[in-house]
């Protein structure tokens, strides 16, 4: 039996158009923009001034706290401005703007370390922190925080999240095909940090070639046991709690973090970034972006520098075939619709989807039939239909009783609903309102 979790949905994976497209590197934009919030936690603080020359790979902003991440220049050039610019989320946030000098002069102080086994866990955590690594699957939680569980934690599972359950996205898949040693290399560093002989990689069974490639690389490790686990193709298999459940059988309970059940999960690209940071001394500078949707001419996988304008990604890859009505950063299940293409790619930009008018607006909502489909598919055992009702009525008591904050916002409920209700959309809004109401009452 393939490993999986309870619930979930089976959207058409739509990966065929890009699964066989090799990763192509794109040129940076002339003007690169680095928002200070590209991660969960406190915004980063700029440490350069307007007019400064910066190297590619040079740190330009310091983490603004423990739960925060630093940011690096990804081109060499001059700091043109430090001002509010539009973030992909539509808000204007403080950003560093760098004019690319086209030289790509690499910061001379970047040093790799061939034998990381000589380094202690704390030293490795520090390298990862200084490299600005965050969860590159899209969650963007600072990785050094994840890797610093309290001392009582007893970590026995380190897992590479290679499920890539979002439709359309094939960036992790390509990475496993094109640089599997780096992904496994990142995992080995994690295993070393937690003194583990066993490591795990979870891949959905629709990615056969990746499973083969990764298995072959894993088999080369004579002294370590790297288990490539085949998972059932089901959304949201790549949800952290769902993946942990599928691989370990353990459940991360309400209010718990993965370390509390002994697990640490990092995404494929995050592992690659850890490898690059430790072995080559490189900070997070590039990421792989899958483009797709019915409006792009050349759907594919592109290596993009963080800070590059999304418009340039589209222009360098053949432009739009028709006017898009909706552009999504990430995948269609959990990605964010953006209002403008004049925003930069950030660390969490895993995909760029452009859809025409017929896909831009969902069908009209009709009354809930009480069919229970959303209840069956909710991987968190919630009652999305009741949450939907309570959210629309602003019934905060009911929302809390229905454990609204357990919702991982996977969208399986809205996906499955025959009445096309937007349960998760209501839940997201209600979560914010509930938090505000609780703060008011304090």
């Amino acid at each position: 039996m393939l490993k999986t979790f309870r619930g979930g949905v089976h959207p058409n994976d739509m990966k065929a158009p890009t699964a066989n497209k090799k990763i192509v590197e794109l040129d940076p934009s002339q003007e690169m923009v680095y928002p200070m919030t590209q991660h969960i936690g406190a915004p980063a603080k700029p440490i350069v001034k307007v007019g400064d020359f910066v190297y590619a790979g040079q740190k330009i902003a310091e983490a603004g706290g423990f739960v925060s991440a630093c940011i690096h220049a990804t081109v060499s050039g001059t700091v043109k401005a430090i001002e509010k610019r539009m973030h992909p989320n539509g808000l204007f946030v403080e950003s560093i703007v760098i004019d690319d000098d086209g030289q790509d002069s690499i910061y001379p102080e970047l040093r790799g370390c061939e034998d990381y086994t000589k380094l202690s866990k704390d030293e490795l955590v520090n390298i990862i922190k200084e490299a600005g690594i965050v969860g590159l699957g899209g969650a963007t939680f600072p990785t050094h925080v994840k890797l610093s569980p309290p001392s009582e934690a007893n970590i026995d599972y380190v897992i590479v999240n290679a499920a890539e359950c979002e439709p359309y996205l094939t960036s992790d898949y390509r990475e496993m095909l094109e640089s599997p040693e780096q992904v496994i290399g990142g995992l080995k560093i994690l295993m070393h940090m937690f003194n583990l002989k066993d490591g795990y990689v979870g891949i959905e069974d629709n990615k056969e070639v990746a499973i083969e490639t990764m298995t072959a690389i894993a088999a080369k490790e004579k002294n370590l046991d790297i288990h490539i686990k085949t998972l059932k193709t089901k959304y949201p298999q790549g949800g952290e709690k769902q993946l942990i459940n599928a691989i370990t059988g353990r459940k991360v309970g309400p209010g718990q973090l993965p370390w509390q059940v002994g697990a640490i999960v990092c995404n494929v690209d995050t592992c690659r970034a850890i490898f690059q940071a430790v072995r080559r001394g490189l900070p997070v500078m590039t990421r792989i972006v899958t483009t797709g949707g019915d409006c792009v001419n050349n759907p594919g996988n592109y290596k993009v520098r963080v800070g590059m304008k999304l418009r340039d990604i589209i222009e360098q890859t053949g432009g739009f075939s028709k006017q898009p009505s909706k552009v999504i950063m990430g995948g269609p299940m959990m990605g964010m619709a953006i209002s403008s293409l004049d925003v930069p790619a950030v660390k969490g930009t895993s995909g760029l989807m452009a859809f025409g008018e017929e896909h831009a607006y969902g069908a009209d909502e009709t009354a809930c039939l009480r069919c229970g489909k959303c209840v069956y598919v909710c991987p968190m055992n919630l009652l999305p239909n009741r949450l939907d009702e309570a959210a629309r009525a602003d019934n905060y008591d009911a929302l809390e009783k229905l454990n609204i904050n357990d919702c991982i916002e996977c969208g399986s409920c809205a996906y499955s609903c025959p009445s096309k209700r937007r349960q998760v959309q209501q839940i997201k809004v209600a979560k914010v309102k509930l938090r505000e109401a609780q703060q008011r009452n304090k």
Binding site: A337, A363, L369, G372, L383, K420
Partner: protein, 333 residues
């Protein structure tokens, strides 16, 4: 151009399931039973069904028109109600009564409570109960299979007993107790759509395969009826009941697959569905064995419809990982 981009929360795609597709599937699943009913009771079965469907759709349309609400006829739910209503009537039913039943189902039971998704009782079953209370004779005028029924003066037909009444030995019930094979293919007396176990099973399996319904309610319902009637419905004391006969005869099959699985009026939680199925089974057995009435299926479902909100409330799924989190905390303490 950018100011034209649509910004909305994810997910940006939805599945292919729609209300219309779901209702269409139910209609498709009811066709074998309609064919069987027409074969057993003649063309008038088809006429009753057509009148019922047309009346239901018309009332649904009129209601939307008069209240200036968005048209709801397109979701096909009125067709399902119309078919089920006809399937729960004897073939001899006067046609004007069918129209009254349709009015009761669509206007009183469904629309008065807010339309699709809001009614708390199954419209077809509630209408059947209403007609039975108002015109008991017309609703219980059964004919033997393949009797030719006059179109208008249906009261003059030669009546016969339903298999359940014959089995129970109800007073005045004349007729042979049919064999299992006749019950299975539906060659017996009864309501238009309830007689053929085979046809209903085909439809039920279709619905399960299409994932329109889950098997929980039909299975628990039928098992409970089988167990209960085996224990209590025998003529020679406990554990002598003919469970197979009891499950195949009467409306239990139709009820289990098509009425006890109605989305709106049955629980949406998995555990709730099992409770619902067992509850329907227990009430059916109570009515059949001690209620002095050979049927019992529709009342059992209606009664369970009423407690459905309560069942949903007490059977919410366990919070994800909750018990383990607690255990771990206890272990640490």
């Amino acid at each position: 151009m950018d100011n034209l981009l649509v910004v909305s929360h994810s997910p940006h795609i939805t599945g292919n399931d729609t209300v219309r597709r779901t209702m269409l599937d139910v209609c498709i699943a009811l066709i074998p039973a309609l064919i069987a009913g027409t074969w057993v009771f003649g063309y008038r079965a088809l006429v009753v069904t057509a009148v019922s469907v047309i009346a239901c759709v018309l009332f649904e349309w009129l209601w939307g028109k008069i209240l200036k609400k968005p048209a709801s006829v397109g979701d096909l739910s009125a067709i399902v109600t119309g078919m089920l209503l006809a399937f729960n009537m004897p073939v001899t039913i006067p046609l004007w009564m069918v129209v009254i039943g349709a009015f009761f189902a669509i206007i009183i039971v469904k629309q008065f409570f807010g339309g699709i998704g809001h009614n708390f009782m199954n419209p077809a079953l509630a209408a059947r109960a209403f007609l039975l209370a108002s015109w008991a004779l017309a609703m219980t005028t059964w004919v033997a299979p393949h009797t030719s029924v006059p179109f208008w003066n249906t009261a003059d037909v030669v009546t016969s007993a339903t298999p359940l009444a014959a089995y129970a030995g109800t007073e005045g019930a004349v007729g042979e107790i049919p064999g299992y094979f006749d019950l299975f293919i539906g060659n017996v007396g009864g309501c238009i759509g309830e007689t053929s176990v085979l046809a209903i099973l085909i439809g039920g399996i279709y619905l399960i395969a299409r994932r329109v319904i889950r098997i929980r309610i039909p299975l628990t319902y039928l098992l409970t009826v089988a167990l209960g009637t085996w224990m209590f419905a025998g003529h020679d004391g406990l554990f002598t009941g003919d469970a197979l006969y009891q499950v195949m005869a009467g409306g239990v099959m139709l009820g289990a697959f098509f009425m006890a699985t109605d989305y709106t009026t049955t629980p949406y939680t998995p555990v709730g569905q099992i409770i619902f199925g067992i509850g329907c089974g227990v009430i059916t057995v109570l009515i059949r064995v001690w209620g002095g009435y050979p049927e019992g299926c529709s009342y059992s479902i209606l009664l369970m419809n009423i407690v459905t909100p309560l069942i949903d409330r007490i059977t919410a799924p366990n919070r994800y990982g909750a018990s383990k989190a607690k255990k771990r905390k206890e272990a640490q303490a």
